[in-house]
């Protein structure tokens, strides 16, 4: 046996690492060329990246932004970069971006969705970023009522009455909880609120509107008469201007087409410049023409609205008398005659109601759901589904873990059913079947129906994601909360959910992103989301055949939203990381 004893006599000082391990050289060695296999992979990847950019960059650089049709785009690119050049035609985005964003929303009312979007951001900001002043949170509860009102318009009473329903529920809870247990008070309050929304909001709104309408009728009649007299003259003047400008533009277009043909025949420098300057000069008159046409459209709409309203107002006394007569006849009528009278009464009632609605409205001009479209539609549906699916998902996940057998069975059944059915099927149910299940007379807005379906769909997935988070929590957390005397809801709110949701953040955000992208499926049931609109744009003769630019733009917009969500989730995970577990 040798001697194993060893004693260090001198401690070593710190030394700097070898030059190949630090700095740029060290970094390259460690990350790109650490061995021969990695070196090959690095080189192959570099070649691949070069090829991709070599293919895409010229197309991006040689692009046209000012043309007003695909043919003109091609002529412009050819003139600017030579006949062989390939270039993107981004002019379609320049011309149609408003449509891609707002769909067929009336252009003079664009401020409403913009304001609504801004309001949504302001309302969400303090919820998403705790560093912002907490006073901003006071705004957030109002957004869900103000934003739909801005988007769809209508009387101001509806959002107020909806809020009043919440107030009613609160009062009922307070009154009941002093008499019976909280477990009973909350469902009863919810029921009262739902009944209020279903059966009180619209009648109260109609009554107030009718009251205001009766006062306003003389003024509105005079106003409409003026409009009907003035507007046709203005429209005729616009028509003349449009015709004159149209001829000028037509001549310029013909000249430009001749120049393009000349360029195709003989590719000279002079021909190129001529084509480019011809297209450039066309821009001003074209824009002016478009502006004039838009003015004419607005005036025409205004005129037809005024005429309809005036006709309705003039027929109002007559309709009212007819109504009384019909009611009197109805009292004695039986059988087939009765059905006929009822139908006639309904028609007369509708005529009176539509006039009253129009005249007595205090609020914003209503916009129908079928005019919604583009990213506005995607964001509206996506945001509603995202914000509503989280609380519903939490409730479903808790229900699935509950000890109450029937509640658990309902939650499991709901989750498994919804997850087992394609979203498309649910959307078809929303668009076609849902009306059959609702009480007769109630007509749900199509976007509202789609929102409900997408929300339910997202909630089922959310519930499973959150259940995963709940399952990851040690049992000891529940026991510690119990042992401290926290009741079920307090334990969930203060101990269980903060941790379970934190664990589930990546899954939750994945579901959010999935839901947002799934909103494009509504194009299948005829709603004009960006993809639906792109088909409409491609059907236009000017843009027939355009693919990459349109879908590329839509993809980019979706990417911006989804990537922001993904980054936010990473930020949140970093922020909530508390030590090591």
């Amino acid at each position: 046996m040798s001697n194993l004893s060893y004693v260090r006599t001198e401690m070593l000082g710190e030394q700097s690492p070898p030059g190949t391990a630090i700095g740029i050289v060290g970094w390259l060695r460690a990350n790109l060329f650490s061995n021969w296999l990695n070196t090959i992979l690095t080189l192959v990847s570099l070649v691949f990246i070069y090829q991709v950019f070599a293919a895409i960059l010229p197309w991006l650089i040689h692009s046209s932004w000012t043309a007003n049709s695909l043919q003109e785009c091609r002529a412009q690119v050819d003139a600017a970069y030579g006949m062989a050049a390939e270039g993107g035609c981004w002019a379609v985005i320049r011309e149609r971006y408003l449509q891609l964003v707002f769909g067929f929303y009336p252009s003079e009312l664009y401020w409403r969705p913009i304001l609504a979007f801004g309001l949504t951001l302001v309302a969400l900001a303090p919820i998403l970023f705790t560093a912002l002043p907490r006073k901003m949170l006071w705004l957030s509860p109002f957004a869900p009522f103000v934003v739909p009102w801005l988007l769809w318009g209508g009387t101001v009473w509806v959002p107020l009455l909806v809020v009043a329903g919440l107030g009613l529920a609160y009062v009922v809870t307070r009154v009941l909880s002093s008499h019976v247990s909280g477990l009973l008070a909350v469902p009863v309050a919810a029921l009262v609120a739902i009944l209020w929304w279903l059966y009180a909001v619209m009648p109260v709104n109609d009554a107030v509107t009718a009251m205001i309408a009766n006062q306003r009728i003389p003024d509105v009649s005079a106003d409409m008469r003026d409009k009907v007299e003035i507007l046709p003259g203005e429209i005729a003047a616009l028509d003349a201007q449009i015709a004159a400008l149209g001829q000028t533009v037509g001549r310029a277009e013909a000249e430009k087409d001749a120049l393009v043909s000349a360029l195709e025949a003989a590719e000279t420098e002079a021909a190129r410049t001529a084509v480019l300057s011809a297209i450039h000069e066309l821009r001003g008159p074209r824009d002016a023409l478009a502006a004039l046409e838009k003015q004419r459209l607005v005036r025409n709409e205004e005129l037809s609205r005024a005429r309809t309203l005036l006709a309705g107002l003039e027929a109002l006394p007559e309709n009212r008398t007819t109504r009384e007569t019909l009611l009197a006849q109805l009292a004695n009528a039986t059988g087939a005659a009765r059905g006929d009278l009822e139908a006639r009464l309904a028609t007369v009632d509708n005529r009176i109601a539509s006039v009253v609605k129009e005249v007595g409205r205090v609020g914003l001009i209503p916009v129908e759901s079928r005019r919604f479209g583009g990213f506005m539609l995607s964001i509206t549906i996506g945001l509603v589904a995202i914000t509503a699916s989280l609380p519903i998902g939490v409730m479903l996940a808790l229900g699935r873990q509950s000890d109450l057998l029937i509640l658990r069975a309902i939650c499991v059944g709901f989750i498994e059913f919804i997850r087992g059915v394609p979203l498309i099927t649910l959307l078809f149910v929303a668009s076609v079947l849902l009306n059959y299940f609702l009480p007769p007379g109630t007509s749900f807005d199509i976007i509202l129906r789609v929102m409900i379906m997408v929300t339910l769909f997202a909630s089922a997935y959310m519930a499973e994601v959150i259940r995963g988070g709940l399952a990851a929590l040690p049992k000891g957390q529940y026991e510690a909360a119990d042992a401290l005397g926290l009741d079920y809801w307090k334990a969930q709110r203060l101990i269980i959910m903060p941790q379970a949701l934190k664990i589930s953040i990546p899954g939750i955000v994945s579901t959010f992103i999935g839901v947002f992208k799934d909103t494009t499926l509504v194009s299948i049931i005829g709603l004009l989301d960006p993809l639906g609109l792109s088909n409409a744009i491609r059907a236009n003769t000017a843009w027939n055949g355009i693919v990459w630019e349109l879908y590329g733009f839509i993809a980019l917009m979706f990417f911006v939203f989804c990537f922001s969500m993904s980054r936010y989730s990473m930020y949140l995970e970093r922020k909530l990381r508390t030590g090591h577990r």
Binding site: P474, E479, L484, I495
Partner: protein, 263 residues
Amino acid sequence: MSELATERAIDRSKMSVSENVAIQITNMNKWYGAFHVLRDINLTIYEGERIVVCGPSGSGKSTLIRCINRLEEHQAGQIVVDGIELTSDLKNIDKIRSEVGMVFQHFNLFPHLTILENCTLAPIWVRKVPRKEAEETAMHFLEKVKIPEQALKYPGQLSGGQQQRVAIARSLCMKPKIMLFDEPTSALDPEMIKEVLDTMIELAEEGMTMICVTHEMGFARQVANRVIFMDQGQIVEQNEPEPFFNNPQSERTKLFLSQILGH
């Protein structure tokens, strides 16, 4: 394990057992499915008692003290804590739980809250104590367990012994009348066991009613006024520490003590 829990002399001036019953368990039985875990338990615990429950693993000692604050439900018999009977009435359960503190083997601190928040959460939300007052109380108890400087850290940043002391402070912040300890030192390294035991001894010196499931026989010898030995779901023997250790009556107790002490 037979060595003493602490070298110092224990101050017994405030350790007095009163005549008032703190916990009364009569003919209590519990089953897990068909398995009979607790069999006909009868136990009366007076205020100020310091009881150590020991026994081989699987003997039902943890289950017994978990029944006292209804973390486990008993199926037959009666448990009365501080004059309130434990039934399925949720209000009674929450009331008892806020009077009975519990310390777990794995601490079960809330990892998403700071130490201070861990300690103030229950007083604020259950006792409705104003935040400021709750924080003062929490700091008082954190000082008592000798870690006030960690108040703003998260549990994940503390050592096991520190975490267990925070867990004790967290229970104390509810000002409980009874403390239950479920193997508080079993998950700790030897050098950390001592700091937790010191805290528990100090608590005992202040006259707290304590029920500890533990294998620390030194603690049992020095601090307990009664040692209960359980096996196969029943109380086999109980006695004052001195006779219990020096002169056990039952064969099972003798066997257990020889295994646990006889190194």
